[in-house]
């Protein structure tokens, strides 16, 4: 009896879940593995990203029949933001589809570091959009890795430029105190060398404060903040660390509008738990928040109204949902660029890599995509896999994120030499040699 009930229950569950099923890999499709984390401690960040991705790909399939008529197929794999599970997922999915996986979005700096050495061997493009190894922005050393529209180092420099603007010029930074609170992991440490260089150049006093994984305990950090009273705080946090930091900042009465998170520390899930205390908190981003763009109308019309949405309609416009959309759009446009050369058919990883390297996303194209003003145009080249894209600052008003700045250019003359230097170091570690971009087509 009970067994039957169980079986029926399970069957019902499967039937109920059927509409949520991803498009199965088919003939004549281009396969993209999605490493997602819908469970575990980082799920609040992982779910909106994954939904944004899936919704945009569903939109392409429903509205245009795929990219230039070639359907996009994908399969999700749960990583729980865990490096080992992520690698397992990658190994499992890299052979699916008619031409194998063409690109992968690891959505974890840890997993990105794992996959970078595998990419040239498996011929799979790694698109770590705004995360992963900053040094990989030098395409001469890392042909298979792309981290446009901008990387952690550019972001840190743009945030310093923004702080300078607020203070009345970069020269006014002299003697100011800026603290960087970071997740004590490769990801969190990324911005440190750039900040140190800038501190020397502009004469501000930089304090580096590490918070250990997972970041639920930050009392000692905020005690230091209280003693130090920095003029500005920049944070590179992730997951539960962000909301704890915002609550702690409120507890020590730190002025919220001088507290800036990086783009992984400025999502809706980070500020909502802190309630009113989070009002005024700022964050960096490289795309607009909200649903005030044509592309979202299209998603509602072609995806949600047909009952094919991955999440809730109301969750559209959240910072991380939009990030998923922008990430999917970049991927799709790179594939489209490759198709212009190699034809409208399922492409190989090598062909898609060519597409990424020759991506030129203009203002006009963004408008065609219904994303005018949603993000900045990007042009990628053999040398530059980052595009050195500008950064926006958004502010939380207690209900939603609003943009409070124009696009702020990173301090490229500081960042780019450091990237080239680091690329040599990281590239040599892997036994790479620099390729000659003048010989590439």
């Amino acid at each position: 009896m009970t067994r039957r009930v169980l079986l029926v229950g399970l069957a019902a569950l499967i039937v109920a879940a059927a509409p949520l099923m991803p498009v199965a890999a088919q003939e004549k499709s281009i396969f993209i593995p999605l490493l997602v984390y819908r469970t575990g401690p980082y799920a609040p960040s992982g779910i909106p990203i994954a939904n944004g991705f899936v919704d945009y790909f569903t939109l392409l399939n429903e509205r245009d029949g795929g990219i230039n008529g070639v359907k996009v197929a994908w399969e999700e794999c749960e990583t729980q933001y865990d490096t080992k599970q992520g690698v397992e997922c990658y190994e499992r999915l890299k052979g699916r589809g008619p031409t194998g996986a063409v690109l992968v979005n690891p959505y974890s700096t840890g997993i990105t570091y794992q996959l970078i050495p595998k990419a040239p061997i498996d011929k799979v493009v790694i698109f770590s959009m705004g995360y992963g190894m900053s040094a990989a922005s030098d395409g001469r050393w890392f042909p298979w890795v792309f981290n446009f529209p901008t990387n952690y180092w550019s972001q840190a420099s743009a945030v310093i430029r923004y702080i300078g603007q607020q203070e009345g010029g970069l020269d006014k930074l002299k003697g100011k105190k800026i603290a960087h609170i970071f997740h004590n992991s490769p990801y969190g440490k990324e911005a440190n060398p750039t900040l140190e260089t800038l501190a020397k150049q502009h004469g501000f006093e930089l304090t580096l404060l590490a918070v250990d994984h997972p970041g639920q305990e930050q009392k000692s950090t905020w005690l230091q903040i209280r003693r130090l009273r920095p003029d500005w705080i920049f944070m590179s946090g992730w997951g539960v660390m962000n909301q704890v930091a915002i609550k702690e900042a409120a507890a020590v009465n730190y002025p919220m509008d001088r507290f800036i998170g990086n783009w992984w520390s400025a999502s809706d899930a980070d500020v909502i738990p802190a309630g009113d205390a989070a009002k005024g908190y700022k964050g960096a981003t490289f795309h607009a928040p909200g649903t005030n763009f044509k592309v979202f109308e299209e998603i509602v019309k072609h995806v949600y109204d047909k009952g094919k949405g991955a999440g809730k309609k109301e969750a559209m416009g959240e910072a991380l949902y939009n990030r998923g959309v922008v990430n999917a759009m970049f991927s799709a446009e790179a594939i489209r660029t490759a198709m212009a050369k190699f034809g409208n058919k399922p492409l190989t990883g090598e062909q898609v890599r060519w597409g990424f390297e020759h991506l030129n996303l203009t203002e006009k194209r963004l408008e065609e995509l219904g994303m005018k003003g949603f993000t900045h145009p990007v042009k990628i080249s053999c040398e530059d896999h980052e595009g050195s894209g500008p950064v926006l600052i958004q502010q939380w008003d207690g209900k939603k994120w609003n943009l409070v700045s124009d696009f702020i250019a990173p301090i490229r003359e500081v960042v780019r030499p450091k990237i080239e230097e680091a690329a040599v170091q990281e590239g040599k570690k892997l036994g790479y040699t620099m390729r000659d971009c003048s010989k590439e087509m």
């Binding site: 879940a17 690698v87 499992r92 061997i121 490769p186 990324e190 994984h213 680091a422 036994g431």
Partner: protein, 358 residues
Amino acid sequence: MIYREAGQFKTTYAADQAIFPIAQDRVLAALAVAAAFVVPPVLADEYWLQAVLIPLMVYALAAVGLNLLTGYAGQLSLGTGGFMAVGAYSAFKLATAFPQLNILVVFVLAGLVAAGVGLLFGIPSLRIKGFYLAVATLAAQFFLIWLFNKVGWFVNYAPSGTITAPPRTVLGVMVTGPEATAAARYVVALGFVALFAWMAKNLVRGRIGRAWMAIRDRDIAAEIIGVRPLRAKLLAFAISSFYCGIAGAELVFLYLGSAETLAFDINVSFLVLFMIIIGGLGSILGSFLGAAFIVLTPIFLTNVPHAVGVELPVALQKQIELMIFGGLIIFFLIVEPHGLARLWQITKEKLRLWPFPH
């Protein structure tokens, strides 16, 4: 009927004391080891080697190490992840500082460094036991991870704080680094685990192992019959950490390729502890069975829905997977609290009588 030792007479002490006194066992073990060396590198695809077999070998070695300490010497330790990290970071330092040094030598040296650190953190075991010792070793876990995170020297001042396995060859074959084939890395991992499991098996049958077991069963009695607790306990910590250190070095060099401290966090310590509890405390075979259970079951469960053609949303699938996995752990512990190794032993005893139980 097949599994019966009737007619196998032992005429020497050496024959009586062999690891596998029964001829069938001997043949089976030899075949299993030979098959492990030959079959996967030839037949298995990269997914099997990379995602299943290599971690299995690495964790089995760590589990053997912890089993020596916890299962044989009775010292509960939660510092496994920390000791593995010591092995990994010292292997990285050694490999980058002395590029001409053979990578296999690097692994052994890294194990020795870990043994030294383990010795140091074993000192509290002379005064405290049981859960209190577990807490003291927990301190080792947190301290070591903090240290590697904090001091840039350990990662050669890489801004990201990650260590990356440099490419190295053994006998002209690339075994570490991105160019190394999964098969080559698997064979190295298997070679280490086979060698060290064989050594562990001999260790626990000899004077040292018996001293450990005496300490485990009743330390005062052991002291009275002449076992020196200081030496026995510290030796257990050192040897156990040596194993864990090599496993940690393998984790980075043969399995992950590059890692940060998060790869060695407290979860790893728990995972290895669960492996030996489920596999069987005080059993070398149990370490392998436990590692196989913990590594293979989740991967098996993840692949089942796709294999049978049921497509579930990933989150739901993951939750079901975790529930089944947890359920299986409880099931096995209820069926046999002494672990999978004990189940195997019972099976063997039954097999001796089969098919005529009376």
